[in-house]
């Protein structure tokens, strides 16, 4: 690049560096030994929303800098960068003239000026990257939490069903065999009572296991698990359900099956709780590249622009989180007295992942 050679000419170099200072997208501040901002480029002005007249030579840098991020603190003034000759990279929180605070990536270098020294601070706005990074971490975290919760539920459910359930079944069979022996009437009645009690406890344990996480979801797949869930739901709330399936016989990735099952569970419970509906229509479609689940009720509906959180508000949030975790979306269509339709779309691969 031959033009660089021109920089050997001090006047040309000066105007070139002046131009760099004016045009770079990073914010550059020059601070004197008292901490006053003595120079700032247009990017710096834009970042902190000050104009040159009010800023240059008048404002202390501490008015802009709220502190640095360290291992221990998000914002602190201990070990201030200004006390050091150079700090190549650190995070700083700055405050704009209108009071908005955000974090930026910073570097500072002490530059000798005649017999004195000035501090050059360069700032780069990372708030968008940080926001994206936080969102990404949040998503990962949610995924881990959901997975861990499902794993724990699966473990407990299996333990209840196969462990305690099996033991109760053995006791039940033993009692039944015992009751076939010749015995006094009172003892026979007592054993019959124990048999009934054991049988009821076995039912309770099985129900508890299904409530935690139905074994059908892992062993038989999404559709049978949903069918069974909806049968119980009808009994529980007296709400009639219909389940329309347009899907080939295939197993989907466990994360996908769990998400669809839980979303359906959440949506139907929400309908039972708030919709005051006699009927819910559920439709599941597996188009190969994506899945669509709709849950429609015919209840009181609500104004979607003014959602009033009546419960924990986590139902809707949970549905969204589960769908978005898999790159899917949740749409809610509702109007007062027109019922509510929740549509979930989740992309899947050929392998159902």
């Amino acid at each position: 690049m031959p033009w660089l050679l021109d920089l050997n000419d001090p006047s040309k170099a000066s105007s070139f560096f002046q131009s760099v200072f004016q045009h770079v997208t990073d914010a550059i501040f020059v601070i004197d030994k008292h901490g006053i901002i003595v120079e700032a480029n247009p990017s710096a002005m834009r970042m902190i929303r000050w104009n040159a007249e009010d800023l240059i030579g008048k404002v202390h840098f501490c008015e802009v800098c709220r502190g640095m991020a360290t291992c221990d603190f998000e914002v602190t003034c201990t070990e201030c960068f200004a006390k050091k000759l150079r700090m190549p990279s650190f995070e700083m929180t700055i405050r704009t003239k209108d009071g908005k605070e955000f974090s930026v990536e910073a570097s500072s270098t002490s530059v000798p000026v005649e017999e004195d020294a000035a501090l050059v601070v360069i700032l780069r706005d990372l708030s968008e990257q940080i926001r994206a990074e936080k969102a990404r971490q949040q998503k990962m975290m949610t995924k881990h939490v959901f997975r861990a919760q499902e794993e724990e539920r699966k473990r407990l459910s299996r333990e209840l069903h196969d462990g305690i359930g099996q033991s109760l079944y053995s006791i039940l069979v033993g009692l039944q065999v015992l009751n076939q022996q010749e015995m006094e009437h009172d003892v026979k009645t007592l054993i019959q009572d124990l048999t009934n009690m054991t049988s009821h406890t076995l039912d309770d344990v099985k129900n508890l296991a299904v409530d935690l996480r139905p074994a059908a979801l892992d062993d038989l797949g999404l559709i049978p698990a949903l069918r069974s869930y909806l049968r119980n739901f009808e009994k529980m709330f007296g709400i009639e359900t219909s389940f329309d399936i347009k899907a080939p016989h295939r197993r989907l990735h466990p994360d996908v099956e769990t998400a669809v099952y839980r979303i359906c569970q959440e949506a139907t419970i929400n309908a039972a709780k708030y919709a005051d509906t006699d009927k819910i229509v559920i439709a599941f479609e597996d188009k190969g590249e994506w899945l669509k689940l709709t849950i429609q009720d015919f209840g009181v509906g609500f104004d979607t622009t003014q959602i009033q959180i009546q419960g924990t508000g986590l139902g809707l949030y949970g549905m969204r989180e589960r769908a978005e975790m898999l790159g899917g979306e949740v749409f809610i269509h509702s109007e007062p007295n027109q019922g509510t339709t929740i549509t979930v779309r989740i992309p899947v691969s050929d392998k159902g992942e």
Binding site: D204, F237, G238, I239, A272, K273, D276, D278, G311
Partner: protein
């Protein structure tokens, strides 16, 4: 009791306890609980409801063998939604549940209010008397 007698009883109980809703449920020999009759009901969903006699309000009341009074009930968790499905469906804010037995069948007499009025001991005693007089 005939169906007509039951409805008459429930209507009377509803008026005398200043309730909005009154209902009767019984458990069958399989331990399944169904609602037999209701008055002041908002929907007929209760007719399709089946619960276990060891769960929900029925389970609690029968297990403890004593009445249960709940005022300003707030239903939030999944377990509560399951336990209080009838309260939710009928949009009741407070209720009194009284256990009773008819020919060895476990039963539940339920009255409820949709208003903010709470059930006092006086109303509870009245409800217990009504159940004793007409249901045993």
């Amino acid at each position: 009791m005939t169906n007509e007698e039951i409805v008459t009883f429930l209507e009377r109980a509803r008026v005398e306890t200043r309730s909005d809703y009154a209902a009767l449920a019984y458990a069958n020999e399989n331990g399944e609980v169904k609602w037999l009759q209701a008055v002041g009901n908002r929907s007929n969903r209760y007719k399709r409801m089946t619960t276990s006699m060891r769960q929900g309000i029925f389970g609690r009341v029968i297990k403890l063998d004593r009445p249960l009074v709940m005022n300003h009930l707030s239903i939030r968790t999944y377990q509560e939604i399951q336990d209080y499905a009838i309260i939710l469906t009928e949009q009741l804010k407070s209720f009194i549940a009284i256990p009773h037995y008819q020919e060895e069948r476990a039963g539940l007499f339920l009255i409820g209010r949709r208003t903010d009025d709470i059930y006092t001991d006086e109303i509870l005693n009245k409800a217990i008397d009504l159940a004793k007089t007409f249901l045993s």
